[in-house]
Amino acid sequence: MVSKKHISITVNGEAKETEVEPRMLLAHFLREVVGLTGTHIGCDTTNCGACTVIMDGKAVKSCTILAVQANGKKVMTIEGLSKGREKLHPVQQSFVDKHGLQCGYCTSGMILTSYWLLKNRKNVTDEEIRAAISGNLCRCTGYDNIVESIKDASKKMEEEGDPIEEHPEIKVRA
């Protein structure tokens, strides 16, 4: 029997402390220990991005990170994006407005990758968007409406700003 590890991860601003088996994936920790099921799992080879979360300011695939590796880090899931606010986050709103989802399974990951992109870049081009979401697969939309949603979100973020005050400090690069 392997020994469990004590970990503390800040999830959407709240510290979560618990003992976990070292082999537990961050995705399962979020879904089954914390109970945030918006983080999805779509593959076992780190290709699909359905499990995307923001960890210490970067979009990452939570199916390929151990919960123990996230010890001491800040994680934001899809639920964190509009947590405590009735209104959707601009990126979420754009996905609704521009029909950026069909079945909705890839959506959490798409939105979080988009959020990370838009925190880093202004005036994103179609090409930059497509490159940025190249690690997130969608089998329904054919991506057009997702690209439109992200462009719309870029505008909304410019105009309205980011309502998340205490978001993980996302590094802004040139």
Partner: protein
């Protein structure tokens, strides 16, 4: 909360999101061999000895009763027929431990020489003792005819290789049993199909089974079916009286769910020198896989019957065969026989145009059906010439005609309207609840249902709740596939709404919204429909080839007849989504096997699912000739998976000068020679 709002908040409820106290996680030890006898199994908790059920066919194109030897046992019965076939089951209350248990199952095999190639299968020994032939379907359509000796003949072997459906959410089920009733939560296109299938497989009275559809993360044909794993999950839930969850891994999906396509055609098209086609002969061979339970008993016939395309074809004689191979059973994948049939006839038409040095679209125009007729192969072909003329205009074909990188597709899409569909509308406390028999899994039926109810009953969208499939809430139902929902499902909603209106009229003299919302109403409608409807479509694709033979899809335009547009955004999304799958089929998607039947594909990316950076922006225009159904709409879902591979293959053929007769087209084949 509206569905899309829920989903963007991460508050959807997919099957793996369900947690219940005492839940068991089910796992399967699967075959490592494509074909083998099982000598011994140790370390398993469930085997065929105890769980000796068989999978029954449900979903689009389900047939009943093939030869008994061919039925898919839920756990292998002494032998295995494909890599990934469930042999034994294990379970634990921890999903990680369930996986450890899979690793501890030991299975001894006596391997046999696998049958991998469908054409080879027809020449090989029979796969099972007691079976007469490896052809489980072998039928002829049309009538033998003698071609005019002066006719031109185009002869081709054309192949659409197998591809995985790959919804981003894999298959999954949760089953619970209270001593009398079995309740199942499942990711599906059809709660009622699953219910019917489970009842038959488990030999349980239907009213002891309730199937609830949860949010379903894509399906593309796959999730209309019943699977061995589902039956075992239900069995275990009843045996242990504990909730049981089984969630497919992607690896399992690639091995053992039901892939689509996998069809070979050997065809000859006959034509006069002026381009008028005179006849079609040949055979269509479906790679059925090792068992029934998929769609292999249906698909060869469905494909053969559609081979006239949208053209006037006076003579035809086609053999439709489905053969046993050591692979997972073939199943429906977005289009399910439609893309194959149109690909075959359209490739032949392009071949004919080249032979006659004619413009391929001009050739299509000559042959487009001037009047609606029933082809010798049995399908009704609607008159298509006028549509084609307007497609040429709308897609601006004249501008592209002389380019060396353009392909054009002309298609007929047969909607699976036959069988009809059900809907129930319940009004209570000022809100409307709607259940429908076809269960959306990425088509956003909720949006058009709300639009229709606004029109029919004048109710604002925000008081309508479109609920997921639930067999306890809805007597009967069919399923969401075959581009049918905007047609029959929406019609069921319209008729059910009409019934409520009528009742209110009777009671109150006339229909008012107030009377609706203040009263209690509950109407169920099974909208019966026997006919298979169809619609026409066209695609235009242009490509650039780089110096390595890589294809860059530049423009990908659609022109489809979708009748009345119920939801424009959704139609565009359906088009783009289908078009990406069409590009995938043509350029990257394949479930490849080696000569021993061992799968070579182990990840969703290896399977060729395209990412956003590899596809263009899509364009679509609509032709709006209303359907005869109450909704006046026509389906669109499968049109792009039919048209895009055709137009793209042709564009590549033009750009490279290489004959294209296979999907996917291997990059290797396209590598251009270098000039010295």
């Amino acid at each position: 909360m509206e569905l899309s709002e829920k989903l963007v908040r991460g508050e959807g409820r997919f099957v793996d999101d369900i947690q219940m106290p005492g839940m068991l996680y089910l796992g399967f030890a699967r075959s490592q061999y494509a074909r083998a006898k099982i000598l011994k199994i140790s370390g398993a908790q469930l085997t065929h000895k105890e769980v000796n059920f068989e999978v029954v066919e449900v979903g689009e194109g389900a047939t009943t009763g093939g030869p008994a030897a061919l039925s898919h046992p839920v756990l292998a019965n002494g032998h295995v027929g494909y890599v990934g076939q469930p042999v034994a089951a294990v379970y634990s209350d921890d999903r990680y431990v369930a996986e450890d248990l899979i690793d501890s199952v030991e299975i001894e095999y006596e391997p046999m020489k696998a049958i991998v190639d469908p054409e080879d299968s027809l020449k090989r020994e029979v796969m099972y003792p007691g079976v007469k032939s490896n052809a489980i379907v072998d039928r002829y359509f049309g009538k033998e005819f003698t071609p005019d000796p002066s006719d031109i003949v185009i002869e081709r072997k054309i192949i659409n290789r197998r591809i995985a459906t790959n919804p981003i959410e894999p298959r999954g089920i949760v089953a619970a049993y209270d001593g009398h009733k079995l309740t199942v939560w499942v990711s599906t296109q059809s709660a009622h199909s699953i219910k019917g299938g489970l009842s038959e497989a488990l030999k349980m009275e239907p009213d002891r089974i309730r199937v609830v559809q949860v949010d379903t993360g894509g399906a593309f044909g796959l999730k209309g079916g019943l699977f061995p794993e589902y039956v075992v999950a239900c069995y275990l839930a009843m045996k242990e009286r504990r909730p049981v969850k089984w969630i497919e891994t992607r690896r399992e999906h690639l091995l053992a769910s039901r892939p689509g396509r996998g069809v070979v055609a050997n065809l000859k098209l006959y034509a006069k020198k002026d381009g008028t086609i005179t006849g079609l002969k040949g055979e269509v061979i479906v790679d059925n896989g090792a068992f029934t339970g998929g769609s292999g008993e249906f698909s060869p016939m469905f494909i053969a019957r559609q081979l006239a395309g949208a053209y006037y074809l006076p003579n035809a004689y086609v053999r439709a065969v489905s053969v046993l191979t050591n692979k997972a059973p073939q199943g429906p994948y977005r289009g399910a026989g439609r893309p194959e049939a149109m690909y075959f006839i359209e490739r032949l038409m392009d071949g004919l145009a080249d032979k006659l040095k004619m413009d391929p679209v001009a050739l299509r125009l000559i042959n487009a059906a001037k009047e609606t007729y029933t082809s010798p192969l049995g399908m009704q072909v609607e008159k298509s010439r006028q549509f084609l003329e307007s497609a040429i205009k709308e897609l601006n074909y004249e501008k592209y005609r002389d380019r060396e990188n353009v392909g054009f597709a002309f298609l007929i899409l047969y909607h699976a309207t036959a069988g009809g569909e059900s809907a129930r509308i319940k009004v209570e406390n000022g809100r409307l609840k709607v259940w429908t028999g076809g269960n959306a899994h990425g088509q956003r039926h909720d949006i058009f249902i709300k639009t229709l109810l606004k029109e029919e009953l004048g109710v604002p969208e925000d008081i309508v709740d479109v609920l997921k499939g639930d067999t306890d809430q809805l007597e009967d139902g069919v399923g969401a596939w075959g581009s049918r929902s905007s047609m029959v499902l929406s019609s069921a909603v319209i008729v059910a709404a009409g019934k409520i209106k009528e009742q209110i009229g009777k009671k109150h003299g006339k229909y008012t919204l107030k009377a609706l919302l203040e009263g209690k109403w509950d109407e169920y409608e099974f909208f019966k429909y026997d006919k298979t409807e169809s619609s026409l479509g066209a695609n235009l694709v242009t490509v650039d080839m780089d110096s390595y033979g890589r294809v860059i899809v530049k423009e990908c335009l659609s022109y489809y007849d979708i009748g009345r547009i119920l939801d424009l955004d959704n139609a565009k999304g359906q088009n783009a989504g289908g078009a990406v799958q069409g590009i995938g089929q043509t350029l990257s998607e394949e479930l490849a096997f080696d000569e021993d039947g061992l799968p070579l594909i182990t990840s969703i990316s290896d399977a060729g699912v395209l990412s956003a950076d590899l596809v263009p922006k899509f364009g679509i225009k609509f032709h709006k000739s209303e359907s005869p159904l109450p909704s006046k709409a026509k389906g669109i879902g499968e049109a792009p998976t039919i048209g895009v591979p055709i137009a793209l293959s042709r564009a590549i053929e033009k750009a490279t000068g290489k004959l294209i007769v296979e999907t996917p087209i291997r990059p290797e084949y396209l590598l251009p020679e270098e000039k010295a």
